[in-house]
């Protein structure tokens, strides 16, 4: 590798032209084949058994995500104008492309099944809006008398009515989302319109995340440029370094595009990652160049460049490889966009390493080293010549003087982190991604306050014998399951076959409350259902039971989509599983809420295995680089500490483990070990060159310690920009990556450095061999 870089030195212009040429090719590739994938379904691992089952059940029971439009009137929705507005909204929605075949549920579309003196009356609450208030009052009366509708489609206080649109198979698009929002805007007043439902939350999330990241990208670029200018103290160096990271981003996207991989929302993080991480190699290179020119004034361009390559290329290569490993470890994820994110960022990182190693020396060969602007103190040249007396050296001495302090501090930190780690909880909620005072959270809370809930879980009961779900014993057990579920916190409503049967039984027996129970014979059940097929909407039936009556779907509506709520319902249902098993019925789950729970679990599992994998790869790489298992172990100290602190802080600050916060830990391992690699390399070399442990420690801490400090400072300042994001998950990513870098840096220069020094006798022995 060194030879390759040194050979390239001879042809600086060729190198630059080639880099530029490939970059242009990449730009061409991006321009010609770039494709954005916004369909969230592509994230789902289709072949996972839970998904396969859920998808099949979704199809069998026509389980679809729904958009809820809550129409809130200051007094009562039962007035001619508001009742007409429900029709208008329905018409508007059905006129939308993509919603033409959709089922709409509201008091306008619903059937009122009513007991009459000698039988049953099935008719719509209204077809055309009433002309006067009397007409509206009659509708109000009818709604109040039907507990299948009151509380479900109109709130108990009668101030809010729901229009529920089931999304057709084609799914939800950003465009549809905008159009529905525009209908809500147009139809508002005097009513307030609230648009809620899982597709809206997902849609907003899918739109907001990338938009925010796209805004963050240029900001990160700007901040990194400013920091680089301060650190490198030269415009030419800053421009060159920025060109490298921008080019690496372009190459990564160019390759993606050329391979036909579309852009996913998570891919938007690639530039931020590459810009913040990619500048590190240049920092170390320039640090060495300044050190060398300080020590050997008047050195030739080639000498400067060759020295920098000799000293830096090996640790930088391994620093790059470990970072690459951190990203590549994401391939263990079951989620393709995450896999792609890992792979292409890894590629970009390697490109930025290669380009730095080629272009920085080429720049020196072509244009010279330039003059480094001296800061006021002008400590540059002088300080670098006497590397053993600077701040770094004093720091190294201080550490040696008071080793206990660092050890105790580390022990306390790990103990506190361990306590915090025990409190880490997982949240797969989509809604938790938004600020608690955002419109979408408020709307969701409003609908949840007045109705059964915006989130749902489908409990699928399966038997082997046909007509099982006509058996009154089975139906009573289902009914008991539902009644119990309603006692759970945040469960607002349940709907199943029993809901319809009880209503029919009650209505066919002159609305006698004694008949609000499951009928006693399976024949009666069958006959009621035939009646319902005749007079109601049979599709309603096939949403709760299959045609063979071999499986049934119990929908549990919840007022929150967090893991705690869904988990509580699943635990409750599982506790009843034995009772159902006795009747030959097995229980499974379906619906998008359940799928995202499984999905997030998979991501978390994937992240945990990525994390393990990245630590192992890093250990192997570093051991190989140093030809020493012991040094491999030493280098993992900072990353292990940073992992502990990462999860500890999350637990202590009540930051849940989510798909985005889990993503970063394995990445952080790959980046965090870089500091150790540079420090260990130069400490060992100094040991060899100087032969004195104290001097080697002082030298490496002040020389490499400085570069590592700058490296960490730049990465942290890049990621800290994301703290200004309007999107909470991006803020969390920014903060946690910064925290990881800070911990890894501090652990490297303190505890790891001390451990390193303590094994110096062994290192010297090895070096003498």
């Amino acid at each position: 590798m060194k030879r390759f870089f040194k050979t390239a030195l001879g042809h600086p212009y060729a190198v630059m032209v080639m880099a530029l040429g490939i970059t242009l090719l990449a730009v061409l590739s991006v321009v010609s084949g770039f494709r954005m994938e916004t369909n969230l379904d592509t994230y789902m691992p289709r072949t996972h058994p839970a998904f396969v089952f859920s998808d099949e059940a979704d199809e069998r029971f026509m389980i679809k995500d729904a958009i809820l439009i809550a129409v809130e009137h200051p007094d009562s929705v039962f007035n001619p104008a508001t009742l007409q507005k429900l029709i208008d909204i329905e018409d508007d929605l059905l006129a939308l492309e993509g919603l033409s075949g959709a089922r709409v549920n509201s008091i306008h579309t619903a059937d009122n099944i009513l007991a009459t003196e000698d039988g049953l009356d099935v008719r719509r609450f209204y077809v055309d809006a009433p002309a006067d208030q009397q007409g509206a009052d009659r509708i109000a009366l009818a709604v109040r008398g039907n507990d299948m509708i009151a509380g479900r489609l109109v709130s108990a206080d009668e101030r809010t009515a729901l229009v529920i649109v089931e999304l057709p198979e084609s799914g939800f698009s950003r465009d549809l989302y905008d159009r529905i929002q525009s209908i809500a805007g147009r139809r508002a007043g005097p009513e307030t319109l609230h648009v809620a439902g899982r597709p809206i939350v997902e849609g907003t999330l899918a739109a907001l995340g990338p938009a925010d990241m796209a805004r963050m990208g240029p900001m990160v670029l700007l901040v990194i440029a400013i920091v680089l200018l301060i650190v490198l103290r030269q415009v030419r160096r800053t421009i060159l370094t920025m060109s490298v990271v921008v080019a690496s981003t372009v190459w990564a996207f160019g390759l993606m595009s050329a391979l036909g991989v579309p852009m996913y929302s998570v891919s938007i993080m690639i530039p931020v990652m590459l810009i913040a991480i990619g500048v590190a190699y240049a920092i170390h290179l320039y640090n060495q160049i300044d050190h060398f020119t300080g020590e050997t004034p008047g050195a030739s361009r080639r000498d400067i460049a060759e020295n920098a390559i000799s000293v830096i290329s090996s640790p930088a290569l391994f620093a790059a490889l470990t970072t690459v490993a951190g990203f590549v470890s994401l391939v263990t994820s079951q989620v393709y966009p995450v896999k792609y994110f890992g792979l292409f960022t890894a590629f970009g990182v390697f490109v930025s390493f290669m380009l730095t190693m080629l272009l920085v020396p080429a720049g020196i060969m072509a244009f010279g080293n330039g003059t480094v602007k001296k800061t006021a103190g002008s400590r540059g040249a002088r300080a670098e010549r006497i590397q053993e007396h600077g701040f770094g050296a004093r720091f190294a001495d201080a550490l040696k003087a008071k080793p206990r302090f660092a050890y105790i501090a580390t022990a306390v930190l790990i103990a506190v982190s361990a306590f915090g780690m025990s409190r880490v909880w997982i949240n797969t909620s989509f809604l938790a991604n938004f600020d608690s005072n955002s419109a979408i959270v408020k709307t969701d809370a409003f609908v949840n306050e007045h109705f059964g809930g915006t989130s749902s879980l489908n409990v699928i009961l399966q038997a082997t014998d046909p007509d099982t779900f006509k058996d009154p014993g089975v139906l009573r057990l289902m009914d008991a399951l539902q009644t119990g579920a309603l006692e759970l916190e945040n469960v607002g409503d349940t709907i199943s076959l029993t809901t319809y049967l009880r209503r029919l039984h009650y209505s066919m027996n002159a609305a006698d409350p004694a008949f609000d129970v499951i009928p006693d014979s399976s024949d009666l059940v069958a006959q009621y259902l035939l009646l319902y097929e005749m007079s109601g909407d049979p599709d309603n039936l096939w949403k709760v039971v299959d045609a063979d009556f071999k499986s049934a779907n119990v929908t549990v509506q919840m007022k929150s989509d967090d893991t705690l709520t869904i988990g509580r319902v699943i635990d409750y249902v599982e506790a009843q599983a034995a009772d159902f098993a006795r009747l030959g019925i097995t229980i499974r789950y379906a619906g998008s809420g359940y799928k995202s729970l499984i999905f997030s679990d998979l991501i978390l599992q994937g992240q945990m295995s990525s994390l393990g994998l990245s630590v192992i790869i890093v250990f192997i790489l570093v051991s190989f680089m140093f030809r020493s298992l012991l040094l491999g172990l030493v280098s993992t100290i900072p990353v292990l500490i940073s992992i502990a602190v990462n999860f500890g802080v999350m637990g202590l600050l009540n930051v849940p483990l989510t798909t985005s916060t889990a993503l970063i830990s394995s990445i952080a391992v790959g980046i965090g070990v870089d500091y150790a690699i540079h420090l260990i390399t130069h400490y060992r070399e100094a040991l060899k060159a100087l032969g004195d442990e104290d001097r080697a420690a002082r030298f490496s801490m002040s020389h490499t310690g400085r570069a590592v400090l700058l490296n960490a400072a730049i990465v942290i300042s890049g990621f800290m920009v994301m703290v200004f994001s309007v999107f909470p998950p991006n803020r969390q990513v920014g903060l946690l990556v910064s925290l990881n870098m800070l911990t890894a840096f501090l652990a490297t220069v303190t505890i790891m450095f001390m451990v390193l020094r303590s094994i110096s006798p062994r290192l010297i022995k090895e070096l003498q061999k």
């Binding site: 009459t116 009356d121 066919m508 024949d523 009666l524 006959q527 009646l531 005749m534 049979p538």
Partner: protein
């Protein structure tokens, strides 16, 4: 809608009669549809109807019921008694449909498990018939004056030269935006009808699969409605057809429902 509809025999039978061939040239679309509508029909009928519902995955559900139809003083009466599946055996529905405008159908249900006849009032006409792909409206013969008609062209269907007649409802609130019927030029019977939804997309296709000549009548004995949007279909097979046997008005009573046919 009820006023412009005759629910007798065409309902469930789509009974069509031989009529003298009309000169294709002179016929207007309205005249064709009127001729189809105004053919003579049996005064009563009984038959066994086997309804096969096929869902999108090809799974079949079979329902079999006996039915009896007759017309008395402008009231079309019908009783249907389920024979299978076993758990609904004996469940019967009676329907009285009136000629007067604005008067909805009367319906009763008898459930053996309840041992009681209950009256059902409903406003649903566009709704599904017994959970099938046929709506109640599809089963009734529509009066030609309810639509405006146009001849779209001619086409050979099942070996017969047919007119393609497009019918658009006069009432915008109607369930379909338009239908296209294939009417045999020689026999003036419909062989196929396409139903278009409110957005103008093809929704359902009705096909006549089998016909049988019975005395002066040409009876359709097998027909299928395919919902092309939901990808399911319903086949209706009529067997044991008996026509003009003189079924009395008293045979359409709550007592008869409970007793079975």
């Amino acid at each position: 809608m009820t006023a412009t509809k005759r629910t007798i025999l065409p309902a469930l039978m789509l009974c069509l009669v031989f009529a003298p061939a009309l000169g294709a040239q002179e016929k207007t679309a309205l005249a064709i549809m009127t001729a189809v509508y105004e053919r003579p029909q049996p005064s009563d009928m009984s038959a066994t109807l086997t309804m096969t519902l096929v869902d999108s995955k090809g799974k079949e559900r079979v329902r079999s019921l006996d039915q009896r139809l007759g017309s008395f003083g402008g009231v079309d009466k019908k009783i249907m008694v389920f024979q299978s599946p076993a758990d609904v055996r004996g469940t019967s529905f009676m329907n009285w449909s009136y000629g007067q405008a604005g008067k909805g159908d009367d319906q009763w249900i008898y459930m053996p498990a309840l041992k009681r006849v209950k009256r059902i009032t409903s406003d649903g006409k566009g709704g599904s018939f017994m959970g099938s792909d046929f709506s109640y409206d599809d089963l009734g013969a529509r009066h030609p004056s309810a639509d405006s008609h146009a001849i779209l062209g001619s086409e050979v269907l099942a070996g017969e030269e047919c007119w393609m007649v497009e019918s658009k409802p006069q009432d915008a609130a109607d369930g379909y935006s338009r239908t296209v019927s294939w009417i045999s030029k020689s026999r003036l019977i419909g062989f196929r009808r396409d139903y278009y939804d409110k957005k103008g997309a093809l929704l359902k296709t009705l096909s006549v699969l089998e016909t049988r000549t019975m005395g002066p009548y040409l009876m359709i004995t097998r027909t299928e409605m395919r919902d092309v949007q939901a990808n399911h279909r319903t086949r209706m097979d009529f067997t044991a057809i008996r026509l003009d046997t003189g079924i009395a008005d008293e045979q359409f009573s709550e007592r008869a429902m409970a007793k079975g046919l």
